[in-house]
């Protein structure tokens, strides 16, 4: 949408003048935030359900209760880490949006000052950020899928158990070996997202330096023309 004010065109579309990554950041920060909150809400709900089952389980053993208790524990941890990953992705996108605001605003100031608009190409830190963020999200999602697989195995292990020691050992072993690596994998995914955020902050600092330099150039030009 474009609004015309006096003799200057004001582009009110939030994504105009931005590169594809910044456009994506402007559009995706809110969906990521909402998805993250919903997934964390689900993790909490699963935890509450687990707690309600666990209260009875320690009084009298019931195979179905034990299966649900163990399954919900693994699922709840998986959902919690996935929610955390989505929220970190939302922070990443919000930072990309911020970099876009700097790019667009800097260009508008140069234009208003009657100078040729000079924009710098995407810094290597921005490319590193994109790679790390995508890898981080993929790793978190892969870890989450592994947690779901482990949860299914745990359920199978306990559902026909006749007592607290009656779990199917092969299923239980498979679940435990999966959760042994899937939890650190998800944490590694979160670490990749955090590292991506650090690179995005470095990109913003780089952009700010470029803008300060450009402003200095413009001021020098203005002084010499007086």
């Amino acid at each position: 949408m474009t609004a015309y004010v006096a003799n200057q065109t004001l582009t009110t579309s939030p994504t105009a003048g931005l590169n594809p990554a910044q456009r994506m950041g402007t559009l995706l920060w809110l969906p990521m935030l909402l998805m993250g909150l919903m997934v964390l809400g689900a993790a909490f709900g699963l935890g509450v359900a687990r707690g309600a089952i666990g209260a009875d389980l320690f009084e009298t053993f019931d195979a179905s209760d034990q299966a649900s208790f163990a399954t919900l524990g693994v699922l709840s941890a998986g959902f919690a880490m996935l929610g955390l990953g989505l929220l970190l992705a939302a922070i990443s996108f919000a930072l990309v949006r911020l970099a876009g605001v700097f790019r667009k605003g800097g260009a508008s100031i140069q234009k208003a000052a009657g100078q040729p608009v000079r924009g710098s190409p995407m810094a290597w830190t921005a490319w590193a950020f994109l790679g790390l963020m995508m890898m981080g999200m993929m790793v978190v999602i892969a870890g989450f899928v592994a947690q779901v697989v482990a949860a299914v195995s745990i359920y199978d292990a306990w559902i026909d158990a006749t007592g607290p020691d009656g779990a199917v050992v092969s299923d239980l072993g498979r679940a435990q070996s999966i959760t042994t690596w899937s939890v650190p994998v998800m944490r590694a995914g979160v670490a990749l997202l955090f590292t991506g955020i650090a690179f995005m902050l470095a990109t913003i600092v780089h952009g700010l330096r470029e803008q300060a330099l450009r402003l200095k150039q413009m001021a020098t030009l203005a002084e010499s023309s007086v």
Binding site: F44, G47, S76, I91
Partner: protein
């Protein structure tokens, strides 16, 4: 007496137009002061958790096998307590980051106002947007949830201590204590994550607010350079 008029804008907040810059709000001043203590507290809590973890490891090597009931109880109690303490430490660190972002907003408000007062006849001051209020609410809710979760961890730790201190092996008739602890920990672990999630959501909203204020400031500077008054207030009320 100077007159201040309020206008709606396309940046997600209203602005006050007046002859003088108003400076930072009390919330910004609080953020300027609070970010460092929060970071310091977070660091101290996490360092404390690290030391407690080392103590726990030493106790564990004595407690197994054949250790006293008290040693075993202490190890199991710390095992239940430490995750809650770590989450509170992380929550304090995230609160520190949040206060720092609020401080950035305050600096933008203060310096933006001063610049306008120097270069223009009217000073446009943003009123606190809904996203900033939501940011503050999320941050406080996140901290409270993390502390409530720590309360759950402490309660569970007490139950676990009572259970394991009944003897080696622990008395069978006190198994309900372990059940109670497991139940409470089932609530506490995801609750901690919810607390962290609320704090992270607050940070997202703070970044969104900073983006909107920046857009406003770039447009205002553009107005000052061009000597116009119709870019920021393109939607006058």
């Amino acid at each position: 007496m100077s007159s201040v008029t309020t206008f709606d804008t396309r940046y997600g907040f209203k602005i006050n137009v007046g002859p003088e810059a108003t400076g930072q709000t009390p919330l910004h001043k609080m953020a300027n002061i609070m970010w460092l203590p929060m970071l310091g507290m977070g660091f101290m809590v996490l360092a404390g958790a690290l030391i407690a973890g080392i103590v726990q490891a030493n106790l564990a090597s004595d407690a197994f096998p054949g250790g006293s009931a008290t040693d075993r109880a202490t190890v199991e109690t710390m095992k239940a307590l430490l995750p809650g303490v770590i989450f509170v430490g992380v929550a304090f660190l995230l609160a520190g980051i949040s206060f720092l972002l609020a401080s950035v907003l305050g600096a933008m408000r203060g310096s933006g106002g001063a610049l306008q007062q120097e270069l223009a006849s009217e000073v446009y001051t943003p009123r606190m947007p809904a996203s900033a209020w939501a940011f503050m609410a999320l941050m406080m809710a996140g901290l409270m949830v993390a502390l409530i979760s720590l309360g759950f961890h402490i309660y569970a730790a007490v139950q676990i201590y009572d259970y394991y201190s009944t003897g080696v092996p622990p008395a069978a008739d006190s198994l309900h204590l372990l059940g109670r602890a497991e139940t409470v920990l089932s609530y506490a672990a995801p609750l901690s994550m919810v607390g962290i999630g609320l704090l992270l959501s607050g940070i997202v909203l703070a970044l969104y607010t900073i983006g909107n204020v920046l857009r406003f400031q770039f447009d205002r500077v553009q107005e000052i350079i061009l000597g116009r008054t119709d870019i920021v207030l393109s939607k006058r009320n």
